[in-house]
């Protein structure tokens, strides 16, 4: 800024001008400092109000995922804008890590997105706190068309009788195994419907022959525990309480203690590594175990990380313990100023043929059954084809969906991990670990 002011008079004027200049500068600075927060506040106010009278609507939408998902979602949203020129989107996305921290912070800051992606770990947390809009009304009026959804998938978005979220895709638990390893060693492939004992015996055999542990000890894995509980006629939750007892948990931990003792699983530290949610650390990919306990829709991601051929089946035991799970949902914030438009967008993402085709199976199998058929006929990715096939085959045996995990679920999950690892590392007997686990869960749910 200095050379431009008045270069000619610089030499003379300097001694005189400097204090003035400084004072002016200071005054300006002061003004800026005082004004800045005001500007910020004004901008913040402006944000909320651009409902504008001209009918133009800008919806904010927030999801987690990778680059590929972002591209597909953006294309689908652009398509919506093309069909509804008055509606534009503020699209925000980020990786899984830290997503819910940010969502919670945005909500707390009074600046939540109109539409957001959520999963069953948090749906009840948000719904119980009335952060999600009840979509029942729109479903009844037909603005939200769920007629083509499998009933249990829809039901898995209900919390306390309210429709808190609409499944963005369907998914289920899957046992992924290393086909190449088994064929090379002339071992049989596991099949859906094997009992847990049979699975462990099979895994022991694999460990012995291949020196690669046959299965990962999933005792710290809530989704495996959950399926197993359902097969015992119990459930993870029942109403606002635990659906199982310390005896059940003891049996579960003992089952896997037996498996570890027989050498069917890796050592505890390796099991611990495999418990990470990071797909690249799944033991079937890192070659530290012949099987991994994952979600079926993770198959293509797993396949990317290994050169080996992979197979996928249901978890052991009666496959009706599994259900049509919403891999993730779309929810609308209760305070959204454009609730109706937001619902229409969700409806579009679920039921518009073009949008669904665009989105493909990135968020799991499309929820709309008619469109699911179209998409599965279209897909070319062999790993995805395989997981669709498996999911469709499993769908015939699915049991009724359980209730969505309740408030406090994230604590229950971490307590399960802690208890199971206590047993794995030999710091507690299965019974002790189970007792601690159940007690901690009860406290977590109550608080």
């Amino acid at each position: 800024m200095h050379p431009a002011t008045s270069p000619t008079s610089v030499p003379d004027g300097r001694t005189y001008r400097t204090p003035l200049l400084r004072r002016r500068l200071l005054r300006g600075l002061l003004a800026a400092v005082v004004a800045l927060p005001l500007v910020g506040a004004a901008a913040a106010c402006g944000d909320g109000d651009d409902a504008a009278s001209d009918g133009k609507v800008k919806l904010s939408i927030f999801w987690w995922g990778g680059e590929a998902r972002a591209q597909l979602t953006e294309q689908a949203l652009d398509l919506y804008t093309k069909k509804n020129p008055d509606v534009t989107f503020e699209k925000v996305w980020q990786a899984n890590q830290g997503y819910f921290d940010k969502l919670a912070t945005l909500t707390a800051g009074g600046n939540p997105p109109d539409i957001f992606q959520i999963d069953d770990n948090y749906l009840a947390e948000y719904a119980a706190r009335n952060a999600t809009l009840d979509l029942k009304k729109y479903q009844d009026s037909g603005d939200l068309d769920t007629s083509k959804f499998p009933p249990s998938l829809l039901q898995y978005g209900e919390v306390d009788g309210k429709l808190a979220g609409v499944a963005a895709g369907e998914n289920t638990q899957g046992l992924v195994y290393n086909k190449t390893l088994l064929t090379k060693n002339g071992l049989p492939e596991p099949t859906t419907g094997m009992s847990w004992e049979e699975h462990i015996a099979w895994a022991e055999q694999v460990s012995k022959k291949t020196k690669v542990p046959g299965t990962q000890d999933p005792s710290a894995d809530y989704k495996a525990f959950w399926v197993w509980l359902r097969q015992q006629g119990k459930d993870l939750y029942s109403g606002n309480e635990l659906g199982f007892t310390a005896e059940d948990a003891t049996k579960w931990f003992e089952l896997w203690k037996g498996a570890r003792d027989r050498g069917a699983t890796p050592t505890p530290d390796v099991i611990h590594e495999g418990n990470a949610t990071d797909i690249t650390k799944q033991l079937v990919v890192t070659g530290k175990s012949a099987t991994s306990w994952v979600w079926v829709n993770q198959m293509p991601e797993l396949k990317k990380n290994t050169a080996d051929e992979l197979g996928v089946i249901a978890y052991p035991g009666d496959p009706s313990g599994q259900w049509a799970r919403a891999s993730m949902y779309w929810s609308v914030f209760r305070g959204s100023k454009h609730a109706e438009v937001a619902v229409d967008v969700i409806n579009f993402l679920a039921n518009d043929p073009e949008a669904v085709k665009l989105l493909g199976t990135d968020r799991g199998l499309p929820s709309n059954m008619d469109l699911r058929r179209v998409v599965s006929d279209d897909t070319t990715d062999p790993a995805m084809k395989q997981s669709i096939e498996v999911e469709n085959k499993l769908a015939e045996t699915f049991g009724e969906a359980p209730q969505v995990p309740i408030k406090g679920h994230s604590k229950v999950r971490s307590e399960l991990t802690k208890a199971a690892e206590n047993a794995q590392y030999g710091r507690a007997t299965p019974a002790e670990a189970a007792a601690q686990f159940v007690e901690a869960c009860k406290a977590a749910i109550a608080s």
Binding site: L26, L30, D101, H272, S414, E421, Y425, A440
Partner: protein, 327 residues
């Protein structure tokens, strides 16, 4: 302290020793610069208010509520001391995280300071290339609490890591350090100790300030190198040791990043790395119990304040300032 009878006031320029400057001049300067001073301070002052003081007060308020971050402010429920009561009487994982943090700080901080002082002594000589070494030792500190460093650490200390390959050279079978509940915290301690560069640099500066005459006098008196260290270096260095001790203890208590990265944000395996701040973060952001987490934060703040106060009150017995009076 017989050796410090001839202090050189210019060396440790603490204000009280210098004669005060003439009042009038200073007054005039103050008047003219006062406003400017505040103006230049204002970004910081506003920052202090907006992003430190006000949020702190809010968090104090929230610590008496059941605030869960999703509920609107208007519906927040006052629960009195319930959060504090729960913490002390009914939360085993809180106590667990206190134990983890204390053992981390009690072991890692003294070792880190010892390493920093030891290396500072080595590097306090004028040999060729000493600057390079100072830089190299300082480097890990520059990387500070970086996520990248923690990831490197995980990969170095897991079962297939470089550290175990190194041990294998000697025929020693390693452990899955970071995945073993008996060793995960210790691995974090080693990481903290390794980052001794910052206190080392401060020690170096302190060592440079020790007047060489004192050593000359001591060696004339026939003091061995060890005696010189105990009777000259340590007392002269005690203010710096004190400074480093306080800072590093606070740092030690606040250890978060490495534990977070190493355990994938869970504090595992089996809660072995569940540092206090990590527990606080999980409670607030994963379990959405922001009111309870606020209470945890306040207890933490008070605990650190108390520990610091204890340091200051014991300091008078062992911290010596060379201007004659021990304060």
């Amino acid at each position: 302290m017989a050796l410090t009878t001839a202090p050189d006031p210019t060396r440790r320029g603490t204000g009280s020793v210098r004669p005060p400057a003439p009042r009038g001049r200073i007054g005039r300067i103050r008047h003219g610069e006062g406003l400017a001073g505040y103006v230049f301070l204002s970004p910081w002052l506003i920052g202090l208010l907006a992003i430190t003081a006000i949020p702190m007060l809010l968090s104090l308020y929230l610590s008496f509520t059941n605030y869960d971050i999703l509920t609107p402010w208007s519906e927040v429920e006052w629960v009195g001391l319930a959060n504090y009561e729960r913490m002390f009487t009914n939360d085993p994982s809180w106590w667990h995280s206190v134990r983890v943090t204390l053992s981390f700080a009690l072991i890692a901080v003294p070792l880190k300071l010892a390493a920093a002082l030891g290396v500072a002594l080595l590097l306090n000589r004028a040999w060729r290339g000493v600057g390079l070494f100072r830089g190299l030792f300082y480097l890990p500190s520059l990387l500070g609490g970086s996520v990248a460093l923690a990831i490197v650490w995980v990969n170095m200390f897991n079962r297939e890591g470089a550290f175990n390959s190194f041990l294998a050279l000697f025929g020693i079978e390693g452990k899955p350090w970071v995945n073993d509940p008996d060793w995960a915290l210790e691995t974090l301690m080693v990481l903290a100790i390794w980052q001794f560069g910052a206190p080392m640099v401060i020690f170096l500066a302190g060592l440079k300030q020790v007047p060489t005459e004192l050593y000359e006098a001591a060696s004339v008196d026939g003091a061995s190198k060890f005696r010189q260290f105990v009777n000259v270096t340590l007392p002269m260095l005690s203010p710096v040791i004190f400074f480093n001790l306080v800072l590093e203890t606070i740092n030690g208590f606040q250890g978060f990043t490495a534990a977070f990265v190493l355990s994938n944000g869970t504090g595992g395996p089996v809660d072995s790395t569940l540092m206090y701040t990590l527990n606080l973060y999980i409670t607030g952001f994963t379990e959405l119990q922001m009111g309870y987490a606020s209470a945890m934060a306040w207890v933490f703040l008070i605990a650190i304040a108390l520990i610091t106060a204890v340091f200051f009150s014991t300091g008078r017995f062992w911290v010596h300032y060379s201007d004659g009076e021990d304060r």
